[in-house]
Symmetry: C2
Subunit: 209 residues, 2 copies
Amino acid sequence: MTAGSPLRERKKQRTRQALIDAALTLFGSRGFGGVTLDELCDEVEVSKRTFFRYFASKEDVAMAPLEDMWRAFLEGLETADPDGRPLLELMEAALLAALDQVADDAWAGRALLSYRLSRQTPSMDAHTLHFCDSTMRAVLEILHRRLDLPDDARPRLAGDMLVAAWRYALDGWAAGARDRPDGRELAARVRDAVAALPGSLHLTAAPRG
Amino acid sequence: MTAGSPLRERKKQRTRQALIDAALTLFGSRGFGGVTLDELCDEVEVSKRTFFRYFASKEDVAMAPLEDMWRAFLEGLETADPDGRPLLELMEAALLAALDQVADDAWAGRALLSYRLSRQTPSMDAHTLHFCDSTMRAVLEILHRRLDLPDDARPRLAGDMLVAAWRYALDGWAAGARDRPDGRELAARVRDAVAALPGSLHLTAAPRG
DNA sequence: CAACAATATGCCACTCAGTGGCATTCGCTT
DNA sequence: AAGCGAATGCCACTGAGTGGCATATTGTTG
């Protein structure tokens, strides 16, 4: 065995990553619906049965980059120091930390592909939204356990606000079509979006013309 | 022909409603996954092919009550008077108006069944989230057309805040397990949740114990 | 009322995502 | 080298969703 991890485990990780990369490539060039799982599995030389031991659905494999980031976010929250800060600020910091942790160049490229796919593919978009929502519920469970949160709407609303800001940031980041997507720029956009939250509460609108 | 609407149209509406009611009943008693479309179609005496001319998916038929409300919301926004109010307040008013318009007793019962199903069924939850999100995009298109909105994050964040408040309200409403679900109570919960939005921005949390 | 156009429905065969069961292979331990 | 457990492959199956075409039902026109 080499470098810490058992061989079997490394092999699994390689298979998993190969499936993700092949999926993003194939979906990216021929569209999500234009590729069957059989084709994807042939490409990676894996049986369809095995695919479903790694991923819960066809959508799931293409969402992996985002899922990895949220997983890091959850882990970070377990040990984050509340420090008397507002809840939203605490979550923002944890999100930025998670992003910083996973967002190397390879991740940024995959995340960009993944996000663009999900905006083109209704079923992927739905899965992504669902994943964010259930992750946020897990977040609130952790926070309720660790902090003395009130039992009213505010914690959940704050969580949904963070998700809204995150999605807006991701949207702008993906729209700025660069060849070299950059994790730090995404982080900056997250900060901006969170900063825009208070102003959106009282934004007034005049009729046009 | 009777009372305005052509006979053919009424027949279609009856078939549609029969499918919705049968779906909510069957899914409610045996679970979403415990009922096949063939069974549902047999129940209503309609071919599976016809089912898919009314609904885009198995999930869709069980989301109909919520979809109807959002449709009314969209229509209301087309003519709503901005009146110099904050955007969020404008959307809240339109949501409450739409709710008031569609929420008779029959609707409340169906909406309750529908929401509970979607909380038990991941694929339905995902579809619901996706529907809310794309509806909110349509909302913003309308508002950008009618009002002089800034081209930054704030309008979208405000929209997502309304959705967050709506979902929280629905959650509490459905949890208060009543035999006679009431549309007016849901409206009150929406008002409360929207009112809680500002406070959630700066909510601070002390460590437990 | 008869013939016609338009639209809604039914039927059939098909693709493909996802699952269960079981035999096989592979990595690890002793 | 032998044996254990985990990962994989293979096969058959269910069920959602679609396309094509024939049929029926409604609305319209002479």
